[in-house]
Amino acid sequence: MSKDLSAAPEISEEDGRPKWDNKFQYILSCIGFAVGLGNVWRFPYLCQIHGGGAFLIPYFIALLFEGIPLLHLELALGQYLRKGSIGAWNSISPYLGGVGVGSWIVSVLVSLYYNTVLTWVMWYFINSFQEPLPWSVCPLNENRTGFNEECYESTSVNYFWYRKTLNITPDIAESGKLQWWLILCLAACWLVVYLCTIRGIETTGKAIYVTAIFPYLVLTIFLIQGLTLPGATEGLIYLFTPNLNTLKNPRVWLDAATQIFFSLSLAFGGLIAFASYNPTKNDCEKDAVTVAIVNSMTSLYASIPVFSVLGFKATTAYWDCLDRNIINIINEFDLPEESIMRQNYTSWISFLNSSYPEKIAGLKLKSCDLQEFLDQSVSGTGLAFIVFTQAIILMPGSQAWAILFFIMLFSLGLSSMFGNIEGVFTPLLELQIIPKSAPKELLSGIICLISFLIALSFTLGSGSYWIDIFDRYAGSVPLLVIAFFEVIGVVYIYKIKRFSKDVEWMTGRKLNLYWQITWRFISPLLLLIVFMAFVTLQMQRPPSYTAWNPKYEGFPMKEEKVYPPWVQAICVLLAALPCVCVPLVALFHLVKQKRRSKDPSFVPPEVFSCHGANSNFSHTKE
């Protein structure tokens, strides 16, 4: 059997494999998988700290040379081989089976912690039906003479997040107890995931219509609302004013490359699974370009309302600062009310400073600078659960805005969860873990139940520290490694000529020079550079985290702590486990091969190797 077997396999499409109801469902599922929480709470933050509009330059370059080629590769692979990640990589070459196993493990790890983030979103959602919003007021202390101390020293929003939601412990080594309210929400979240993925793409295909389209509606509503808020324009100007000097910093390019990579959810195996349910004669090239562009446009579109709201919050904080100073001055000098307004504040201050400098100094007035408030940039959970919730309190009709916001976050996260679960579900279905007669509902139920039980550990007091660890170590470095081996595997082991012919057969056109160059050289090189830079940066600073410790002197600032050695070991394990699968499986097959070749009675399986299922259809049109 020659290795240049590249013509059409006669893989029957009547093989009983489930398929998408229509092309739109498939595209929407890919978009939903790619568009997730990171588009809302990571991209705007990166834009802000890396020079506003200037960040778009490295971002689009990374999209062109890394994002789109890798996406096309995965979609083409899944569509051609019609298998999930483990099966597909076994088909390419048994030595590359480890790539599939690695991406399966990453999908498992990410599913575990991602749903816990959705748990937090659900908790905030069900708390948004209260009037007033529970994070807007501080609870009173025991003898009702004042507010709860922890709440008073930080803010009510911080208190609700760290105490009432997470009930966080001051150290990762202290596990604390299981938080029963989080367990309830976690159970509900896993039940929602089970409901939507119960029969694989049959059910997710229907659910995706809601979960993928709804966030766009809400973003539009927030866009309109956000632009009407005072201070929105300041926020937007601040976001988009390009500062081209930042491009000299290599950190910016690294962040752009990693953002594109993680934003498109590459190397999870979910995209391969989605594409494997397609008919083989489908234009995967156009699909890849569509999904990548829609993902990036969504990031841009989402950053507009996010920054309008942040600008509004900064302006309100600035006004509050001014008002507090004004009240202090009026009370001290017994001036009539409304004599000092925000507009003439500076002139009054200079006048008073010249006439009564000691009195002014005695007041200890805080300097109010709008720029300083705008500079307070947050990303991730801090943006959603602290900054945004604070801004929502200030808006009229805050319950409605809170409900809308958290439903949007939940939909965004849920559609990404579908992809994660598919990346776990499809390979297991193919490996036939459960007998064929058993219904699919059983397998998805088992997956959801086991995941729920393991994820209970994230509802402990120290849970959010562990989620940070999983996010930083399991959901970052392994993906880069797996993607690198994906590209190398397809281009140099499966051979790009063969793959080009396969893609040509599927799409009906010859492969563009752009794909050839990016697949062969640019993307692997870029991945290697990004991986090196990423690891180097991580190595530079000792792995540390910031803890919420009310007993810390600098409270409400978070305390910087170093991970204890056993935690560091777990971090290394999380990062290394998926990566190590690649060489391990290759080694395993090598040993098996050597042992078989030593046994003379055994027919060498080379005839059947390297093209897995396709080799069954040896009678090809040649």
């Binding site: 708390n127 609870p139 509900a188 039940l191 929602v192 119960i198 017994d334 219904p439 509902e441």
Partner: protein, 224 residues
């Protein structure tokens, strides 16, 4: 006589000035923010309002100590600024030229804070008695937390959806099994109709074999 009167008045005035001054013993500072509270409906602070204030403090003292000895004239105001802020002190009518202890005044004000606020259409924040802290009212909490109710609703919907999908899946599975068993039965019926190894259709369609023995016998019988 007139001179004596003048002298007494001036002594009283001086005494009052002694009793009521900023940071005097048993004196309290009051700060009023009418414009903040009422905006456009703000009233101006004038001598009438001051009179009302004195009346309210006297009322509070009377209610607290339940002896009707405190008069409006016992409440002294001084140092009224544009802010509006001033100091006040309550004198004791029974003892000469002394002030009521601050703790009593504080307790009396605390007890009647609500009435005093309402008289001026203000609140604890806009009618401030510095040094007198107000007891904060606890937030209203319903018997079942609201979030639990919402959670219950959400959970019921999800479970209903799952049950529906599982049941419909089982029904589909049963129907598929029934269909496949029916097809099998149909095939079996076709096979069952085999008589002695010869399918019935064949027997029906093809003309039967004529047994030569009987055929020969037929000739013996006469036709009817």
């Amino acid at each position: 006589m007139l001179r004596a009167l003048l002298l007494t008045l001036s002594i009283v005035a001086i005494a009052h000035a002694e009793l009521c001054k900023p940071d005097a013993q048993n004196a309290f500072k009051v700060r009023i923010s009418i414009k903040t509270a009422l905006g456009d409906n703000a009233y101006a602070w004038d001598a009438n309002e001051e009179y009302l204030f004195k009346a309210m403090v006297a009322f509070a003292m009377r209610r607290y100590s339940s002896k009707s000895t405190t008069q409006i004239s016992n409440v002294l105001l001084c140092n009224v600024t544009d802010r509006v802020s001033f100091w006040f002190v309550v004198t004791d009518s029974s003892k000469n030229v002394t002030t009521v202890p601050g703790s009593e005044v504080e307790a009396a004000i605390r007890m009647n804070r609500n009435r005093i606020n309402n008289a001026f259409l203000l609140s604890d924040k806009t009618l401030q008695f510095l040094k007198i802290t107000s007891t904060l009212s606890p937030p209203v909490e319903p018997s079942t937390p609201v979030w639990l109710i919402v959670f219950g609703v959400v959970l019921c919907l999800i479970v209903a959806g799952i049950v529906f999908l599982i049941v419909s899946g089982i029904q589909k599975h049963k129907k598929k099994n029934k269909d496949s068993t029916e097809r099998e039965n149909l095939e079996e019926k076709v096979e069952v109709t085999l008589e002695n190894g010869i399918p019935c259709e064949a027997l029906d369609l093809k003309p039967g074999h004529i047994n030569g023995v009987f055929a020969a016998d037929d000739e013996r019988f006469t036709s009817l």
